[in-house]
């Protein structure tokens, strides 16, 4: 699975299988990852996407650390926060890397 579809309410998570069937995987996502996804709304708003193709290798460690910190400490991100476009792009990549690594464990 390379892309996960998030419902507008952030309550349902699905992917399309090879036959284009929509498979609900909400129950398969660990609680802490679900919480992280909700926190990420404060940064990405409705642009939040779970897509492996966004993962790139050339981003600075600090973006990975920010995501890990948000995962480790639930109050690290607690309100809407405006990153500049380039930083936001890198954060989205770091977030996807973190998510898929944890999810596939």
């Amino acid at each position: 699975m390379n892309e996960i579809i998030i419902s507008p309410s952030f309550k349902t998570f699905c992917y399309f299988d090879n036959n284009n069937n929509m498979i609900d995987i909400t129950d398969k996502i660990p609680f802490r990852l679900l919480e992280l996804i909700k926190k990420m709304r404060y940064i990405f708003g409705n642009d939040i996407v779970l897509d492996k193709s966004l993962i790139t290798d050339d981003i600075e460690d600090i973006y990975h650390y920010i995501i890990e910190k948000a995962y480790e400490r639930s109050d690290y991100i607690f309100e809407e926060i405006n990153f500049k476009d380039k930083a936001k792009e890198k954060l989205l990549s770091a977030f996807n890397k973190f998510f898929f690594e944890k999810f596939n464990k």
Binding site: Y65, I66, K69, D75, I81, A87
Partner: protein, 284 residues
């Protein structure tokens, strides 16, 4: 005049160790020598360094050693203040107050006085000798951007409980409190106050420490100010070039090093920097 909050939220800080010389020998400080040396700052080197930093919002922290010992401190400050992206900050053990009192009257200079050597159960041992100014000669509440910086040494908690009235006079809007840090050679002293920071916090600190250092004696860029260890520098160092400065400011120069793994420096568990600061400084 920029407020302290504004500066803390929007500026990355860099320590300028102008000279290692100091007139005091605090037991938990590792970046000093009692030998008097290099007391005149090389202004050409300063200008070149500031040129490299000119595109970045930097709080330039002038210290050492003791900045009050620097003979051309006024020239150094004038140079820093001439740069629109920089905020000038001076950290002194109170010697600046004696030798350069006008600095305290300039609200565009963030003046921070580290005036307490130690808390004991029954007294405060001070660094300065300004006892005639009540109370104990500490910085008073003011609108000039002058602050006390008090390190909570191990007996701070006992003193606080024993002398609540005295504490009220010290604990005001122009006093910053700092947790006892990992610079002391005695790790038990640190462990008595706090445990080691979580790995993720040490990693975030490593990526851009509270204060990387420009060492004016070696003319090198130093990753971490905490690793001088009596002037035998353990921290990774770099040449001061435009390329390295750009890398540093874009979080590409500093890495999580071996010495970060056992570092006992206090890192705020809520985050090395708040997320709002990262939003402000990343890809500025």
């Amino acid at each position: 005049m920029k407020t302290l909050k504004e500066i803390q939220e929007n500026y990355l800080a860099i320590d300028f160790f102008m000279s290692m010389s100091c007139n005091k020998d605090c037991h938990y400080c590792t970046s000093y020598t009692l030998e008097m040396r290099n007391l005149t700052v090389d202004i050409d080197f300063l200008k070149q360094t500031l040129d490299y930093l000119k595109n970045y919002k930097i709080r330039v922290c002038l210290l050492g050693g003791e900045p009050g010992l620097i003979k051309n401190l006024d020239d150094v400050i004038a140079e820093v203040k001439s740069r629109p992206n920089h905020v000038c900050s001076v950290l002194s053990n109170s010697f600046v107050r004696k030798r350069y009192p006008h600095i305290l009257k300039d609200p565009d200079i963030l003046y921070i006085e580290h005036n307490i050597l130690d808390f004991y159960e029954n007294e405060i041992k001070k660094l300065g000798s300004l006892d005639l100014l009540p109370p104990y000669g500490f910085i008073q509440p003011n609108e000039y951007n002058n602050y006390n910086l008090c390190v909570k040494t191990p007996n701070y908690f006992k003193y606080k409980d024993n002398f609540p009235e005295e504490m009220k006079q010290l604990d005001h809007k122009n006093t910053m409190w700092k947790s006892f840090n990992g610079r002391t050679p005695n790790k038990d002293d640190v462990l008595a106050v706090h445990t080691q920071a979580a790995e993720i916090d040490r990693k975030m600190c490593a990526a851009f420490p509270m204060v990387p250092v420009i060492n004016f004696e070696t003319k090198k860029l130093v990753h971490c100010s905490k690793k001088f260890a009596n002037n035998a520098i353990h921290s990774k160092t770099f040449d001061i070039t435009q390329e390295n400065i750009d890398k540093m400011m874009n979080f590409r120069l500093f890495k999580y090093e071996n010495y970060c793994k056992n570092c006992m420096e206090w890192v705020q568990p809520k985050g090395h920097f708040p997320i709002s600061k990262y939003a402000s400084v990343l890809n500025d």
